[in-house]
Amino acid sequence: MYTQYKYWRPYISPNDPCPPIEIKSYSTPPHLYIGFQPSGLPQFQTAKEALKKGTLWPQLYSPYPNPQKRNERS
């Protein structure tokens, strides 16, 4: 299983002018791990939900902003 967001800690200098963001993140959506989509993947229950999500397949759905966003401001 993969995660949709990755985290890293940039170097923080004692001379930085602004309060540091200690943990930074970037998006790694599902398509990076699929390669070639297998046939017969389960689909969303309703067409309305699929339209709302932007894809027919839950396995392709990528939420943004990060729903488990860590504190990147302090």
Partner: protein, 189 residues
């Protein structure tokens, strides 16, 4: 040829009067990684790509045009009732003196669209890898616009558009797999 359906691919609702957002959205209208660049890139590359993936480029180019239409609708809604004073406050006075409230193919910094934003190398792998990169850049651009916007209804449409970039990227990656595949060729060892 195309058939035109007189509705948007996904509903566009704007809940706050905030012309500054129109300025940011312009990046996806006439910017280097915007929907116009995407549509023109795929629609042009498809002539010289192996016929197994021509249909894919046509389909995605067509969908990009429908995204362009959604972005245009957002920009129009955000600016149509703005007074010259509000336009000025939003940082759009440079645009206004040349175009009034008309839309134009510029990036968020006001640089006009240019064909040098797109490529057609003629090599199928090179072209598809560029297409994959373009989708990832468009996805990132949507992320940064969502980060700058606090209009939840607008962000709902932008999240839809971001997800479509992800699906398109996967389809281009699959196209590369199709062109790499040698299952149907005779192998002589």
């Amino acid at each position: 040829m195309w058939y035109y359906e007189k509705k948007l691919q996904y509903p566009v609702k704007v809940s706050t009067c905030n012309p500054t957002l129109a300025k940011y959205l312009t990046e996806q209208y006439g910017g280097a990684d915007g929907e116009l660049a995407a549509a023109l890139r795929y629609m042009n590359q498809r002539y010289t790509i192996p016929d197994k993936v021509v249909g894919l480029l046509t389909d995605i180019a067509t969908e990009e045009l429908s995204h362009l239409e959604m972005i245009a609708t957002m920009i129009y809604k955000l600016t149509k009732d703005a007074t010259p004073e509000q336009i000025k406050e939003a940082g759009l006075a440079d645009h206004y003196v040349s175009h009034d409230n008309a839309l134009f193919y510029l990036n968020a910094a006001g640089v006009p669209f240019t064909a040098s934003y797109i490529q057609a190398k003629g090599d199928p792998i090179a072209d598809l890898y560029e297409d994959i990169a373009a989708e990832e850049k468009a996805r990132a651009t949507y992320q940064w616009i969502i980060d700058q916007s606090d209009d939840t209804d607008l962000n709902d449409s932008l999240k839809f558009l971001r997800e479509r970039e992800i699906v398109h990227s996967l389809r281009f990656r699959e196209a590369v797999e199709i062109l790499k595949d040698d299952r149907n060729t005779k192998k002589v060892f």
